[in-house]
């Protein structure tokens, strides 16, 4: 038995291979150099080496000792990262906003043309607006270039594994740490900051590095939208089954329908959602309301609204079963008491039954949310993408864009773990994402179970 080590080599531009297997028997010696540094970069992954000097404007800054070098590095990196962040925000928000407005103007003009209501006055107005936008675009672009030029002023000289000096631009450097100099507290802090980055950062390098923020946001947003849709239908259906339906064949059929809705494979919902919601309903919406954008589909392509609707049908039985269980736990003496006091059935329902069943409804909702958050197969057809350029919510009117595609934690796991060009590098990220998803879902389920158990106790007390 020979132990093999899988070693991450980093320095991708110098080595090419990210990982390699090394036999333990081939290892002559191991050292832990004190002042080796890890650089996290926005491109080409990690760099491992020894910092030598900081270069500003092509001039090496004089350094006396390593302490000073570390300070210089920290100062320059924080300066550059502020600049890079500013540039990113400028590009994403301000310039993105102008691009969005330009596109809207183009569509408005096209819509007027299609209606035949494009007068020359209107045309001039459009032209003027476009001009104005392009003017401000140019100014912003200037500012962006300025920022970028400033950010690319500095670089860092590193000693690589073969002892050669390598110069790295500071504007690609995200973070620099001396791992062998950290005590356990600093290590913990490092780990914490890594965790924070994982949660709030955007993905980089084809999703194999960076964070999963868009996926978290997309999952939460889609699930909330779904909850809003599924809630009323599920509750009403449960009330019908438990309070209104007589014991006849129709009720039996509906019960079988509920069981079947729960049992139909999720992929079938995906197929149905794609055909019915996306192509049929979405296509009709496009023809009626967005003819100016055609042939580019607006609602006629997979998006977050269709995903939410599809999952709403999928989770409907969860809400129904849970609500019904809650309803059945309410002692009938309470209902009879209300009716005996002269309340109508509707009044009993609204004032007595529903408030008492509300924790059960809540349980159903939580279970539905947990189910929807973990469902991937149907979403692959109706709206999820591996990398969404924009979130479904942003600062451009109307702020919520239900037609946009979104990222999803579950799909992220599948995509990064199985479709990624560099599975080995992405592995930690996949495990982290899985852990996040499992944590969220188990927490949701535990909450639901907790509420339900609490409820059972309460009604048991009522009955006795």
């Amino acid at each position: 038995m020979v132990t093999r080590y899988l070693v991450k080599t980093g320095n991708r531009e110098l080595v090419g291979l990210d990982f390699r297997w090394i036999l333990a028997t081939n290892i002559r010696s191991r050292i832990e150099p004190k002042d080796i540094a890890i650089i996290e970069r926005s491109k080409n992954g990690f760099f491992y080496g020894f910092p030598v000097a900081v270069v500003e404007n092509g001039q090496r800054l004089p350094t006396t000792d390593k302490q000073q070098l570390a300070q210089q590095l920290a100062a320059n990196i924080s300066r550059v990262s502020t600049l890079v962040d500013e540039a990113k925000s400028l590009q994403k928000h301000d310039i993105g906003n102008i691009n969005y407005q330009l596109e809207q103007l183009r569509l408005d003009e096209r819509a007027d043309k299609l209606n035949g209501s494009l007068t020359s006055a209107k045309q001039h107005a459009y032209l003027a607006q476009t001009e104005a936008l392009q003017q401000s675009y140019k100014i912003l672009e200037q500012a962006l270039f300025e920022l970028r030029a400033q950010a690319s002023r500095d670089s860092i000289v590193m000693l690589d594994m073969s002892g050669k000096e390598v110069s790295l631009k500071l504007n690609t450097v995200l973070d620099l740490t001396y791992p062998n100099q950290l005590n356990w507290l600093q290590k913990l802090a490092q780990w914490g900051s890594g965790l924070a980055k994982f949660v709030v950062d955007d993905p980089r390098e084809a999703n194999t590095e960076g964070g999963v923020f868009p996926a978290i946001f997309g999952t939460v947003f889609m699930v909330m939208l779904m909850a809003v849709i599924v809630m009323p239908f599920g509750v009403v259906a449960a009330i019908y089954l438990h309070e209104y339906a007589s014991k006849g064949p129709i009720t039996k059929i509906i019960r079988i329908a509920v069981i079947n809705l729960a049992g139909v494979p999720s992929i079938v919902y995906g197929v149905f959602g794609l055909g019915f919601f996306v192509y049929m309903v979405g296509g009709s919406i496009d023809n009626l309301f967005y003819p100016e954008a055609l042939p580019t589909p607006t609602f006629g392509s997979p998006g977050v609204l269709w995903s939410a609707l599809t999952l709403a049908i999928l989770t409907l039985p969860v809400v129904i079963v849970s609500t019904e269980e809650g309803l059945s736990r309410i002692p009938s003496s309470i209902r009879q008491g209300s009716l005996a006091l002269g309340a109508t059935k509707a009044e009993t329902l609204w004032r007595i039954v529903l408030p008492m069943a509300s924790p059960a409804i809540m349980t159903g909702l939580i279970l539905a949310v947990a189910r929807a958050a973990g469902e991937v197969a149907p979403l692959m057809l109706v709206g999820v993408v591996k990398l969404a350029p924009t979130l479904p919510v942003d600062l451009n009117f109307p702020f919520v864009h239900l037609e946009r595609k979104f990222m999803h934690l579950g799909f992220h796991i599948y995509d990064v773990g199985f479709q990624s060009p560099n599975v080995e590098a992405a592995r930690p990220l996949v495990y982290a994402t899985s852990f996040l998803l499992v944590t969220v879902i188990v927490a949701l389920n535990l909450t639901a179970i907790g509420i339900r158990n609490h409820l059972r106790e309460k009604y048991r007390a009522l009955e006795s």
């Binding site: 239908f233 329908a257 139909v264 995906g270 197929v271 019915f276 509707a346 057809l381 879902i441």
Partner: protein, 751 residues
């Protein structure tokens, strides 16, 4: 209720009546609203069913042919050589045997243009020939030894945003004519193949010698012109009396039909022409009437006097790729003319009496058999998009609209073995897309259904014993305290996203199992055996010792044992591997046992999907056993039965319908599971039961291919059919399970 309210109403003082009316309205509205909401659930299910059916239905629709119009020709027109349409079916054209082309407007019947081929005085057309249907090319052999190749082209322009199609006759060769030899006056039987770089001509001289002349284009870079070089060679020992001659569009094969034999020549290299094969197409008394090439030019269709059509294509054999009889089409009417589609494997036959037949070769099905209002058809052609048909009969062009969107999909093609072109034998194949253009989609659902069954079977093999045994123990033996922990844990297990299970199975379990195969096999044997031994030992233990162990400890006692056996198995795994399997189990399985071994295989899927299915089976089965009325088991125990007897003869017997329904529900879930199968198998459509190979299931196939399929294409609809099949599968399982459960509940309440 209603009656009571009315009764109450009559006694109310008038100032309350308004309020009462409002209350009554709210009551009514709530009732209607709630009922609607309840019915909506049923509607949702019905809608899914109907929508799937609505998308699937067109693939089983029959083809239809409807007349559009008729266009009269000039009385003196020569016999037709070629007919055809433009892409939009707005213009129909007709080429006569002398090369004259007439274009007609489909709507107005006007003659748009009539183009005569300019010939020198005294020169006549002595032979003419067609290329394959999709090329819209023809060649004329002239009496002065020249050959002229002409193409029908349509140029589309958009003046004033209106589409305008202008037909032209184009001569693709710069010099317009290829000179065979100046002294050749009596060429006959011309066939040709054309591409911009190479032209091949085959013809017979003076009803005697067959010749091949090949022209190659050589571009001159300096002058930016091209010259054609000519090579000519006789085809040795070719039959003299040839009824029909064909050349494949790639200019590699020449087919000469002489009597009951079809001579196949390899003409790829001019100086190495050889006879590949002589196909005996004799069929008793039936004479061959026609030989034609199917779209893609891989298949030869031989038509007989009786109307029967036979398909031949090349199949690999020990003598190389040989033409072989594949299938025949039972046409009973004599075929006057036969037309093939541009890209698909459909062909049309028409009898002298006007009986039109549409056939799809691959699925061996007749799509249509319809009597048309015409007689003595002379020529027939499909439009480029195969949605129209033109037939010339009695000096008229008859135009028909053809509705034939999904000929490749039929019941037999989906579920039975199909012999595809260039396959060695009939097979079940799912291969929906490919990089090449003239690709025929192979849409057999059988391998996918097989894969689904296999995945479900392995999952059930793993899950059913564990889940049911667990359910029995939890419901019947376990203390309430532990049960209150176990049940929610299983519930959380059920809520675990399948993408996580699939990811763990694919990235962690699969490599683990591959590295420790002996351990896994050992576990399968050792675990049950050791548990039974342990139980026996416990049974033999003196009562005094037993009573000292607290109840909770007794229940959890097996956990350390299982862990120990698991750890041991993994520890001895390398030893067994070196001792029994020459140090590499994978190699051993592949070489010694003859199985192929995939890392992501049915075993992995079975375990991972088993985990997904266990909670479903467990919770339903547990419910069923737990709700067996206590007095039944108590009565049995009181009458002197042991715990075991009570369990097997009373409790399980009573709960068996519930357990059955639990298994059904589990099966329903296993059949439709997508992500686990997608991530933990190789997704190849293998049809083998081996545990060490993967599979492709219906659900995974949909997930992979649906986003890429074009809307309303055959592929799209077949994927919907796959979803529909899944829907029906699970519908049956779930409905049976639910009905059984409802019955059981009624019986329990009666007890």
């Amino acid at each position: 209720m209603e009656h009571q309210a009315d009764h109450l109403h009559r006694q109310l003082p008038p100032f309350l009546v308004a309020k009462s009316n409002r209350r009554r309205m709210i009551e009514k509205l709530t009732q209607v609203g709630v009922t609607l909401g309840g019915v909506l659930v049923f509607v949702a299910l019905l809608m899914i069913f109907l929508y799937l059916l609505y998308v699937v239905k067109p693939i089983f629709d029959d083809a239809s042919v409807k007349p559009i119009t008729e266009i009269s020709l000039q009385a003196s027109a020569e016999a037709p050589l070629m007919l055809g349409f433009d892409e939009q079916n707005q213009i129909v054209y007709r080429v006569s045997t002398t090369g004259a082309v007439s274009f007609y407007d489909v709507v107005s019947h006007h003659l748009i243009s009539d183009i005569q081929i300019p010939l020198a005085t005294g020169v006549k057309v002595v032979s003419s020939s067609l290329a394959s249907a999709s090329e819209q090319l023809y060649a004329l052999g002239l009496s002065n030894g020249e050959v002229l190749i002409a193409a029908i082209k349509f140029s589309v322009s958009y003046p004033n945003n209106q589409r305008q199609i202008t037909p032209v006759v184009d001569f693709p060769l710069a010099a317009k004519k290829l000179v065979l030899a100046h002294d050749v006056a009596d060429l006959s039987g011309l066939v040709f193949g054309y591409n911009p770089q190479q032209v091949s001509l085959v013809y017979q001289l003076g009803n005697d010698q067959w010749q091949l002349t090949r022209f190659n284009r050589e571009a001159n870079i300096t002058t930016d012109t091209a010259a054609w070089t000519r090579v000519q060679t006789p085809i040795a020992h070719a039959p003299k009396f040839v009824t029909q001659q064909l050349m494949t569009p790639d200019q590699r094969q020449l087919l000469l039909q002489s009597g009951d034999n079809l001579f196949v020549y390899d003409i790829q290299h001019v100086n190495a022409i050889r006879l590949l094969q002589v196909i005996d197409i004799k069929r008793d008394e039936d004479k061959v009437s026609m030989v034609s090439l199917l779209a893609g030019a891989s298949s030869v269709l031989v038509t007989y006097q009786s109307g029967e059509v036979r398909q031949y294509f090349q199949v690999s054999s020990e003598h190389g790729r040989m033409y072989q009889f594949i299938r025949h089409f039972d046409n009973t009417a004599h075929v006057a003319t036969l037309a093939t589609e541009f890209y698909r494997k459909t062909f049309a036959t028409i009898s002298p009496q006007g009986l039109l037949g549409l056939w799809y070769t691959t699925s061996n099905s007749q799509l249509l058999n319809q009597q048309l209002a015409l007689t003595h058809p002379q020529a027939m052609a499909f439009s480029p998009r195969s949605n129209a048909l033109v037939i010339e009969a009695n000096n008229k062009l008859h135009l028909y609209q053809v509705e034939n969107s999904h000929p490749e999909v039929s019941w037999s093609a989906l579920w039975q073995k199909v012999w595809y072109e260039s396959y060695p034998e009939p097979q079940y194949v799912w291969q929906s897309t490919s990089a090449t253009e003239d690709f025929e989609a192979k849409l057999s659902l059988t391998p996918l259904v097989f894969g689904t069954m296999k995945a479900a079977l392995y999952a059930m093999l793993f899950a059913t014993p564990l889940a049911i045994a667990g359910a029995i123990y939890t419901a019947y033996f376990m203390s309430a305290k532990l049960r209150n922990v176990v049940k929610p844990t299983i519930e959380i297990m059920e809520a675990l996203p399948t993408v996580i299970l699939g990811f763990l199975a694919g990235l962690w379990l699969a490599p683990l199992v591959e590295d420790n195969l002996p351990a896994i096999l050992l576990l399968l044997v050792l675990l049950p055996v050791s548990i039974l031994c342990f139980a026996f030992a416990w049974f033999k233990l003196p009562l005094a010792v037993k009573q000292k162990v607290p109840e909770l400890m007794q229940e959890l006692m097996l956990i350390p044992l299982v862990l120990l056996v698991g750890w041991l198995s993994f520890k001895v795994s390398p030893l067994i591997e070196t001792w029994l399997f020459d140090g590499d189990t994978r190699q051993f399985i592949t070489h010694e046992l003859g199985f192929s071994f995939n890392q992501r295989n049915a075993l992995i899927v079975g375990i991972a999907m088993g985990f997904a299915v266990i909670p479903t089976i467990f919770s339903i089965a547990e419910d069923a056993i737990y709700s067996v009325p206590r007095h039944l088991s108590n009565g049995s125990l009181a009458l002197g039965a042991t715990q075991w007897q009570t369990l097997t003869r009373v409790v399980l017997l009573t709960a068996s319908p519930g357990i059955f329904s639990a298994v059904m529900m589990g099966l329903g879930r296993a059949v439709g599971e997508t992500m686990i199968v997608l991530m933990a198998t190789g997704n190849t459509g293998i049809m083998k039961w081996s545990a060490f190979e993967g599979m492709r299931t219906l659900a995974a196939n949909i997930a992979v291919e649906m986003p890429e399929s074009a809307i309303a294409s055959s592929h799209y609809r077949v994927l919907f059919l796959a979803a529909f099949v899944l829907f029906i599968f699970t519908f049956v399982f779930n409905t049976v399970a639910e009905v059984v459960r409802q019955r059981l509940r009624e019986r329990y309440s009666a007890l």
